[in-house]
Symmetry: C2
Amino acid sequence: MQTGAPEFVLGVDIGGTFTKYGFVSRQGECIGENSLPTHADEPFSHFVARLVQAVEETRQNLGYPIQLRGIGMGAPNANYYTGRIEKPANLSWGDVDVVGQLSKYYKGIPVVITNDANAAAIGEMRFGAAQNMRDFIMITLGTGLGSGLVANGQLIYGHDGFAGELGHIIVDPNGRMHPNGRRGALETYVSATGIKRTVFQLLAEYPDESELRNLSFHEMTGEHITAAAQRGDKIALEAYEYTGRILGIKLADTVAYTSPEAIIFFGGPTKAGDLLLNPIKKHMEANLFPIYRNKVKLLISALEGRNAAVLGASALVWQEIEKT
Amino acid sequence: MQTGAPEFVLGVDIGGTFTKYGFVSRQGECIGENSLPTHADEPFSHFVARLVQAVEETRQNLGYPIQLRGIGMGAPNANYYTGRIEKPANLSWGDVDVVGQLSKYYKGIPVVITNDANAAAIGEMRFGAAQNMRDFIMITLGTGLGSGLVANGQLIYGHDGFAGELGHIIVDPNGRMHPNGRRGALETYVSATGIKRTVFQLLAEYPDESELRNLSFHEMTGEHITAAAQRGDKIALEAYEYTGRILGIKLADTVAYTSPEAIIFFGGPTKAGDLLLNPIKKHMEANLFPIYRNKVKLLISALEGRNAAVLGASALVWQEIEKT
């Protein structure tokens, strides 16, 4: 470490397939963005060694020295309190001590981890759409639905570090089967996968012609559904309406919990823009307890298209550094 | 004010019919407990004048001087941020500036207000079952269902001060009519009134003989229902089972929001004890996302039987005093 050199933190986003990283300044400038395959089927210690090697190579290649002030990470099922990834669905490592192992390589600087949706929330608060907000909710839409709850300017971790699992609140106890064997969880309806399941349900239920009838389940992507909706495809439009109704009704409850200033959406399905947001808003407002009506903003992430997960992970450790 | 005299705050619980107050020490000793009729049909300024007069008479009669360090109040629909009671259902004052008006009589000391469920939560945290807890949820059961959410050791007020209105989350959009004209809110099922409505529904639905068939809706109290259940009355037992199922399913969602250490119940229906708590626990656990199972304690308020609302209101202002 060279004092006087510009200060950066390392932001790391551990995903099921790829792990992305980059060096992020206090103001959100991101340099040395890179990635490596996660290989979650190999031992976790191998992953850590490969990550450190890749990061150090990238750092050498920056062309100028930096001060590394800390490391922030986001990963599925990561627990801020324990520093571990616990029972991840998409990583076969099992329970692993991420902070402990990384800290062996990087001594004397803070190393912190949280789940990806919480990292997104902190990133949005520091660099994105939630700047100056003290109370908001982050919803990330991908394979599942992740969420991060911020109240009084702080992320809510809860007693065990697992607060904010809105993907697992129940829409219908007899509803859609989740890969985890439980029925009717919100994310089986509201997520990239959930919207596709809705399209298939509608293709079964209605006889209307639709360009989406030409695609298999594995072929169909969110882009196909959005493009079809933009061309006026009834099935695709109805899929967004259906999704918005289910999410809107649940978000009306959500508002009664924490009364947020805004709900911010991140992830692939947000590319549908108002096709998705308008039905959510309509159904949320219709179901809100009157004192909350017309107060809550629905926003799309301001980090969409940038390396949001890396920025979020870096924001986590910047927050930690500034706390002390 | 006389320095050297023992320090107390005034705790005030403004209710639809009666307003209770008392002087509470830092350790929760309560002296000079008293009450006056609220007369919510008269102008609010009259109420304030009567309250101040009553409080000062009580203070004179204590027999020894005290230092009054602050005033904490709990009231339905009170907003901590604005210091006002806003759109109360059971008080015909409309929107009134409680803190502003009280502060005219008591200058130079903090005067704060919050809604009664939030006050209960803070009271429980300072003097009751939530001492040393940083993450818990308070549920108060009376005419309606109130709630206070504590995360990271702080009450969640939300952007507008109205967080924690769990009584208004929706069980069934086509369900029971609320006095406010909205259907299916949780408190139409889970509250003293809600349980009585359930008894009447069950008396209509089933032919079983029940001692509760001898009472009119206006005659029947929670005590009747509890006593019947304790004698094995099927309708009464089923009413608790039904209530527990509806609340348990919703609390499973609640846990996914804030992952609390405990959920604490307060109010008349808690006198039923395990008759109520066991079905809640059974259905909550059955519906919890697995990572939360067998972690969340269900507790009954430790202030039950004491002047909990006055203690809660006083805890609010003690907290405020210690913040500064």
